[in-house]
């Protein structure tokens, strides 16, 4: 390709006029190339590439209408995180607190707390558990390939909500 550009220049014409031995090879400038294996283009993720190009992010969470599917899903994650928090507090508290946990429970029993407060606390403990429990079963059903149509997802979602709320109330009243 470079050869063709060189053919049009004045230097080449002079070269032709002066030289006796004229051939295509004499037009070719000796070039030393450092050939190396091609490096594949850098694989960067979608976010990184678009940040590099300076593009703003499209609105997503701010514009998408809440649906049962997404709300139940994020609630499953949220209740899971809440239950993990309870478990972590128990595990850490057992080691860190000055008194033993049964000791604190006896103090709580003797304190004669209002039953509304007690029921409220029990509900805060029971409902995340029952929600995560029944929705967990729903997830396991999906993993087995069941109830995967949209209608079934909605139906099982409502059933799960009723079961979760119902069993939480039942547990609190025990």
């Amino acid at each position: 390709m470079a050869t063709f550009f060189r053919l049009g220049s004045r230097q080449v014409l002079n070269h032709f006029l002066r030289n006796e031995k004229v051939g295509m090879l004499s037009l070719v400038r000796p070039v030393t190339l450092k050939a190396q294996p091609a490096c594949p283009p850098k694989e960067m993720g979608h976010d990184e590439r678009n940040m590099k190009l300076g593009r703003p992010q499209s609105p997503h969470l701010t514009i998408y209408a809440p649906q049962l599917t997404s709300m139940l899903s994020i609630s499953h994650r949220a209740t899971g995180m809440i239950l993990a928090g309870y478990t972590i507090m128990w595990g850490l508290g057992a080691v860190v607190l000055p008194d033993s946990i049964p000791c604190y429970l006896e103090d709580l029993a003797a304190a004669n707390v209002s039953s509304i407060l007690l029921c409220g606390t029990k509900f805060m403990l029971a409902f995340p558990m029952t929600y995560h429990f029944w929705n967990g079963i729903r997830h396991l059903m999906w993993d087995m390939g069941l109830f995967l149509t949209l209608k079934e997802v909605y139906a099982t979602g409502y059933v799960m909500l009723i079961l979760a709320l119902g069993s939480a109330i039942a547990l609190v009243s025990m």
Partner: protein, 193 residues
């Protein structure tokens, strides 16, 4: 033309430095003998595809630190174990509370911690992404999670061994009666006379 001859011979040459320019590879089926050790900053190229998506990336002056990708291998081995653990928890939680026992309490402790560890790991990996929080914080968050899980498991087992056990404690807490309930119990008791 020269470029094509370089590419054709590329696989035969032991190369040196990284190229300082990005070039569009020719649409020739080139031998994919990429030695990724020679290109340390690049992710491993997909060796199965013969199609080279020639990205014209200009030599960028934006120096973003190479993003760590938090994909450490195959999750497919762990997935069935996670599911089996979830099923076991469906049984263990009611059982440990309904009929407290030392073994059930400890099984519950181990299963619960493993379950929430994997769950929180998914949360951390989803939200504490290197592109959002930086490479250091992403790794740190995961490290902290391991610490928290280990500590919680230790604390729960300590509790099972030295105190009442998880199941018994839940029953004890649930048995606490509030002041309002005592009044109604008294009134119904007096009516029964």
């Amino acid at each position: 033309m020269a470029l094509a001859s370089i590419l054709r011979n590329a696989s035969r040459v032991q190369a040196g430095a990284l190229p300082r320019f990005f070039f569009k590879p020719a649409s020739v089926a080139v031998n994919r003998n990429f030695s990724s050790s020679l290109c340390p900053n690049y992710a491993t190229f997909n060796k199965n595809s013969n199609l080279n998506l020639g990205l014209f990336v200009p030599h960028s002056k934006i120096l973003i630190a190479p993003q760590a990708r938090m994909m450490s291998g195959d999750h497919s081995r762990l997935w069935p174990i996670e599911k089996a653990l979830s099923v076991s928890l469906l049984v263990l939680v009611p059982a440990a509370i309904a009929s407290p026992h030392f073994i059930l309490d400890n099984l519950l402790a181990v299963a619960a911690v493993a379950h929430f560890h994997w769950g929180l790991e998914a949360v951390v990996i989803d939200y504490a992404r290197p592109i959002v929080v930086g490479n250091v914080l992403a790794k740190l968050a995961l490290f902290l999670l391991y610490i928290i899980s280990a500590t919680t498991l230790g604390g729960l087992i300590y509790y099972n061994v030295n105190e009442d056990g998880i199941g018994q404690t839940i029953r004890q807490f649930w048995a606490i009666k509030g002041s309002g309930k005592e009044k109604t119990a008294d009134s119904s008791g007096s009516e029964k006379k």
